[in-house]
Symmetry: C2
Subunit: 267 residues, 2 copies
């Protein structure tokens, strides 16, 4: 699949009151069908459908049940896994339309190869757009990917990832490029996962292992921590050591400009 | 009861790494007994005992069970009802000591008049200190009291109050003295209270009724909203219209200085 962000002149057009600084739109070809996505958003972002604006349209022929299942799946793996400020809006909307104009044999079963191909493409596109919202998060200077691995359930992985992503202390540490790892681990412990065993927790930032089995990794140095916190794009992996489930959450840092945008927007 | 904040030279002493800008200590007389409280904290504050430093000592004679009950009750009505940034620390501590040196007849029953008198004094003192932590919250310019009334349970009232108090959008609106009431109501809806009926919600800020039965109050004007958001101390009441329970939460606003303190503290 080749997916590429495309400029869309409709978004961010003058006269529309929005704090978006970039358009978020994308088209992709899957076999003979096309999928097009349009989204907007940059603040009040921790979607929990039904509440952001995201529109998917495809000319593929897709059965109603398969389409509904796909919409939920795509939302869970993209928009419902991002947060800018933890403030869920009351009107996030994800709309999926399949016109059938591609004249493929209708995709009905969720287990079919065709559904697999379509859903992979839709999820990838949805993730790119959800990530575009985070990259354009109010005041954002960094884009952070948080993967939580080895959880007992996907839900608890998501919970841990969101807790880290929404922590003002973690977010300001990212803004400062500060390897304040205590803040990250405190957020893990504060995620409300019961019976979490600190001695099985691991933390990797970029390619640096910071925490192993609940303790500072032997080879870790503060200089390494400083180096991995510098880039504008940072990935971290938390391993819970409790199971085989995983979830990925995307977020941004918390800067002076977030305060400015939300405190000074009327002046 | 006369309770008064007293300076304590031990707190904020040079050489102790802390972002506290004021000492938090207090003594009060109850009958023949004295209660003394000492606390510290200004960031990473949404206590959920056991995790802040709060010490109560009294010379009253109190039975072990009554003292333990009182410690929990006082924590719930004070420290566990404040938040600066929603980041629960891993080492909040509340310690209660009763030496018995006042030589009163030991207070054992939770239903007695003596226990009532003592617990009222301890809760009031604990609230004053918890509020002192919020007033000294990192970057705080405003002190906000959020009362949630007419809930089905105290727990749901607390949940709604905390959600409002932790919303970065609400907190930046307070910093801006901006009557952005949509942000407050969105936080109420986002608190995870099931079956909340928007048509029974009310909101009063200061002495101005803003929302009645889910709609804008007839007499409310934006000028009134601006006026009530200006003071350094603001009280608001949300009525849920679901029951008779209540909870009060104390918080502060979210300013440039919160970002500065947590992003620039190493430089």
């Amino acid at each position: 699949m080749s997916a590429e962000l495309q400029d869309n002149p409709m978004i961010g057009a003058e006269g529309i009151m929005t704090t978006d600084t970039h358009p978020k739109a994308l088209s992709v070809r899957v076999g003979d069908a096309t999928i097009t996505w349009v989204a907007k958003g940059s603040g009040m972002i921790e979607p929990n459908m039904a509440t952001m604006l995201g529109l998917i349209a495809t000319d593929a022929a897709v059965g109603k049940d398969a389409l509904r299942y796909l919409a939920r799946l795509a939302a869970d793996r993209s928009f419902n896994a991002i947060t800018v400020d933890g403030d869920t809006s009351t009107n996030d909307t994800l709309l999926v339309v399949a016109t059938g104009r591609a004249h493929n044999p209708e995709i009905v079963g969720e287990g079919t190869a065709e559904f697999g191909q379509l859903s992979e493409a839709v999820i990838e596109v949805a993730q790119l757009l959800a990530q575009a919202i985070v990259r354009d998060g109010e005041g954002a200077t960094k884009f952070i990917t948080i993967t939580v691995d080895e959880g007992a359930t996907r839900e608890e992985c998501l919970r841990v990832g969101k807790r880290i992503a929404n922590s003002p202390l973690v977010k300001t540490a990212f803004f400062a490029s500060d390897p304040n790892l205590g803040r990250i681990l405190a957020a893990v412990g504060n995620a409300g996962v019961s019976d979490l065993d600190p001695s099985t927790i691991g933390l990797r930032i970029g390619d640096v292992t910071v925490v192993e089995r609940g303790g500072r990794a032997g080879a870790y140095t503060e200089a390494q921590g400083q180096a991995v916190m510098k880039p504008a794009e940072i990935s971290m992996t938390i391993t819970l050591g409790r199971g085989v489930e995983t979830a990925t959450v995307w977020t941004c840092d918390f800067s002076y400009d977030y305060v400015k945008i939300n405190a000074d927007y009327r002046s």
